[in-house]
Symmetry: D3
Subunit: 136 residues, 6 copies
């Protein structure tokens, strides 16, 4: 049980219902998952978070699948069980195969390892790498 009571559609205010409707329409689903039902305990947070997420996750320079996999990478690094589950599900729906999941997690593991080797040895950034990382 979450720290707040879930707001179910039937009992929701008009403001919350409008967000729920937009979530379902955007995602082409007919139900609301627990994350939003918890956020709905504070309608401004629900509305702001959904609108931000909708904007950030919309296909643009990166497609939906790539964005979902990046979301999984962060969620695994932070160990958020809810988010690992929900964004793995979303990534699978967007076309992530088992082989892609395996490679995604292998990269996440490797990055977490070399992040600590670089920090642990206190390696300074090479000048030409710093330059290559920056906008021309």
């Amino acid at each position: 049980m979450a720290l707040v009571k879930f707001v179910e559609y039937a009992e929701a205010s008009a403001e919350v219902k409008a967000v729920y409707d937009d979530i379902m329409a955007t995602r082409k689903v007919n139900w609301i998952n627990n994350f939003w039902k918890a956020l709905a305990s504070d309608p401004p947070t629900l509305k702001r978070t959904w609108e931000s997420l909708k904007q950030v996750m919309a296909p643009g320079a990166l497609n939906a699948l790539t964005k979902e996999m990046i979301y999984v990478a962060v969620s695994v690094t932070n160990n958020c069980e809810y988010c690992i589950n929900s964004h793995t599900a979303a990534a699978r729906k967007a076309g992530m195969s088992d082989a892609m999941l395996a490679e995604l997690l292998a990269v996440v593991g490797m990055a977490n390892e070399t992040n600590r080797l670089a920090n642990g040895y206190q390696v300074e950034v090479d000048e030409r790498i710093a330059k290559a990382a920056r906008q021309a």
Copy 2:
């Protein structure tokens, strides 16, 4: 200055030189960056880490660009300055545009935010999300 002395090519053992040669050949560059020069202070770590990285980052079910962006996502989440720089440089080389970098960082920021909202409200995973996240 790193915690260990960098091993330069000219002074390297045959074992280290072999790894350095493979790094340069694989990446089509003619120089070795500081990360490897630090790891070379312990040749087994150099060899193991390079061979793992080479395997993990080779294009497969995911292409090189996607893998580099996932690497950046993890490195930003962990705040590894060296890795943010080196993998942003690698991602740019693999074709990441400024617009793609902006979207990548926007997703990373959003994921870090909702990871804490999900954990903070102690939201339990929906059964159908758990099922959708799992291998059929």
Copy 3:
């Protein structure tokens, strides 16, 4: 089940009982929660941790409620389920309303997001911000 056996009051040594008594007296409760029962497997850790916590959480320049909310903010960021629960309970007892919890978590989420945007873009600290952050 924890990694060590809980030390119940009835079976505790005089040293552990003295700490338990002080916890109950300070908090005006008549029971000991699992965290302390686990630490009691190592009495010096129990005593040191309790005395530090008691000193740090005592009202001073900041009141008890503010301190408990800061504790929740850290525990959410680190994803410590035990601590999220225990310090949310303590904050509620100290007067945190549902509206305050919602704002607290919104700030925690936002801070986790912009921490990664600042690190991800590798933004350097403005000189006047650095100066304003420092003791006059």
Copy 4:
């Protein structure tokens, strides 16, 4: 130098200028700090992040000072140098004394310690704590 070029006011698009103007008006300052100049390289991220931050940090059930201190607590836990500096500066401006900063950091340190003791001993949440943490 950040990974992207800073967008200075004089060279900014009308869209970016509108956000910069709102930042300066809201904060009653006449300059823009580096964080926003970096985000301005991607105007939708600038606009969304500023509007979210403005909403989240506005005084409500919690006052501005408490919110800034919570922001510092998260930024210290994540080790974001930019954010530690900018939100410590903002907290001082909102009235945080040296004594308050000292207590804030003491709580942050203590929470980071006990988070690991609770996780390290794998302590399960007490039923009555779980209940007390939840909305009545």
Copy 5:
């Protein structure tokens, strides 16, 4: 249930069986734990991870017990429940007493605390400490 199906020995490919056999022979056990059964869904990750772990955890300049305790320290800091359990079990098997576990966790807690005090106060490294930390 994990995100992928566990690969049991009886149904494993020759490649996976070879790794399983090596794990059991190296560890002198007659069963495979869940971590490897999950990784076996991607045989190259299984093989690479096992060979790396085997090399890294072999006694060398540090003995097996010290290595297992370092593994626990990292796993507690990151809050990986699986790894806290598996490496505490391995450390106990390698000779870790209850008293050693208590001291290990006390150091982990303390380090997590002072890490934040050092970052929170933005303390710069002393020149002579920097020198003493570096290879002569």
Copy 6:
């Protein structure tokens, strides 16, 4: 420059001087490093932190070198530059060779990798591992 002014010995209060004297006597050195000079801006934090550290780091079931290496492992995982430097220096003083440092960092890297593989695949703890991790 840190967020607070360093308290130098000559200008310190009797309370702070007593802690400084104990630090120097315990460590057999004749100077105070920046960390303590920053904490001294809040004497109760200085005294509490030093006394806790002194107790936690004293040789007991684990020797001083093992404790310092565990401290480094945590500091690298959290990326605390000050603490990586100061505890690597302390570990070297306590006898850590270059080979030991290399193995320490290799274990830290590996643990950070497998922590994410275990979390990423959402692997559940084996019953017999859970049992073996617990106090008999």
